[in-house]
């Protein structure tokens, strides 16, 4: 190889390397399949309180999930952020309002944990707001068990770390309270999917 050709190649080499680098960058940009923001899947989920409410006219059960913005100094335990020690009554009222918006008769909306004798007086005052909710720092599932009182279901609610545990606890509560078999059941994760 002649010395002149060697010099020409030596001068062109940086340009060739630069062109190759640019070509690969363009190719990378065009093939960008990944979203620009990737969510941190290890981040603990914020506290969620799940309420169960019922439209006794249609027998519809609604789950209202209430998420809380964590305090700046909140510390997660076992991957769960803490929930407020007391749940303000307005949350339960909001859950009932969601049912009322979707019911032809707003008065037929009640909490899903019902007192003994509810079938004779199916009103919200015969239901328990506190027993109709589960919090994500202590439980993973909200369960319910019911018996059918003719036109509508009479139910009780319980929390658990599994669907089976929540339903079993709800069934025990229902059968203990109403002194009847409670064969109808349901469960749902406390956290939104």
């Amino acid at each position: 190889m002649s010395p002149v050709l060697c010099r020409v190649l030596a001068l062109l080499l940086p340009l060739l390397v630069s062109a190759a680098t640019q070509a690969s960058q363009v190719h990378f940009d065009l093939d960008m399949d990944l979203p620009p923001i990737i969510e941190d899947s290890t981040k603990p989920r914020q506290c969620t309180v799940a309420f169960l409410v019922e439209d006794t006219n249609t027998n519809d059960t609604f789950a209202a999930r209430m998420q809380f913005t964590p305090a700046s100094d909140a510390v997660a335990t076992k991957g769960r952020l803490p929930c407020p020690s007391t749940v303000p009554p307005r949350l339960g009222e909001r859950a009932l309002d969601f049912c009322r918006e979707r019911a032809a008769n707003p008065r037929s909306c009640v909490f899903s944990d019902m007192s003994r004798g509810f079938e004779n007086e199916p009103q919200a005052r015969n239901t328990s707001e506190g027993a109709s909710r589960c919090a994500s720092d202590l439980s993973a599932y909200v369960g319910m068990a019911c018996w059918n009182a003719g036109g509508f279901d009479v139910c009780n609610v319980a929390c658990g770390l599994s669907s089976e545990e929540a339903v079993l606890a709800a069934r025990n509560r229902c059968e203990g309270k109403h002194r009847k078999p409670c064969p109808i059941s349901a469960s749902l994760p406390v956290l939104a999917p």
Partner: protein
């Protein structure tokens, strides 16, 4: 310290196996108890985000008309009859406000068109349970455009119970925020009705269809 005794070891192993089997039986029984009987459907409302003090709330996810359109085969509130017509299963030659029948159950002027549910596949996509052959969907307009779609599930001899079908349809609209579409489930006579209404419809929102002869 006693030397290793194979017979004693096998005894321990057998005891462990018996204990494990017993645990399995107990757990299995618990599961069986938990799963016996009919399962009730839980309708999931859109999650709500509260501030740290539990004073103010907003929907956790911003929803738009697109969320509603996905459940209706492309219809959105405010569409004119001419825009809705091609989205119906059997479009009319022409659908105009002036030529549509008046819905007598409203005080305001409301006009409508209707389709049999059995031919409206896109509009009953979530429904798996049976419904009577006479069941139908009413698409209702006021002068400003589409404001309500009403699914009316009617039983018949082949399908005497339409509660499951109505619940399945209702379940697909409940997760939509009431600021986008107001869904209501009710019974009138032997019909199960699911109304999905534009929340900006004023007093029309609270007016319901009543089955005649009740």
């Amino acid at each position: 310290m006693q030397p290793f005794a194979p017979a004693r070891c096998s005894g321990i192993v057998i005891s462990l196996l018996v204990a494990l089997a017993a645990c399995g039986a107990v757990l299995g029984a618990g599961r069986a108890i938990a799963q016996t009987g009919p399962v009730k459907r839980i309708l999931e409302l859109p999650p709500v985000q509260w501030d740290a003090d539990g004073v103010r709330w907003r929907y956790a996810r911003q929803q738009t008309d697109s969320d509603f359109a996905r459940a209706t085969g492309g219809m959105i509130f405010g569409m004119r009859p001419e825009e809705v017509n091609p989205l119906l299963p059997h479009p009319a030659a022409a659908l105009h406000w002036d030529e549509m029948p008046v819905a007598s159950e409203y005080v305001d002027e409301v006009r409508y068109t209707w389709v049999h549910m059995k031919v409206a596949n896109k509009m009953v996509a979530p429904v798996r349970s049976c419904y009577g052959a006479a069941s139908y969907i009413v698409v209702q307009f006021r002068a400003s455009g589409l404001f309500r779609i009403s699914w009316r599930f009617l039983p018949d001899a082949a399908c005497p119970d339409v509660t499951h079908a109505a619940a399945e349809l209702f379940a697909s609209f409940v997760p939509i925020a009431s600021t986008v579409a107001l869904s209501v489930h009710y019974r009138t006579g032997y019909a199960e009705v699911v109304d999905v209404t534009d929340p900006r419809s004023g007093l029309l929102v609270t007016q319901r269809w009543q089955m005649r002869g009740q």
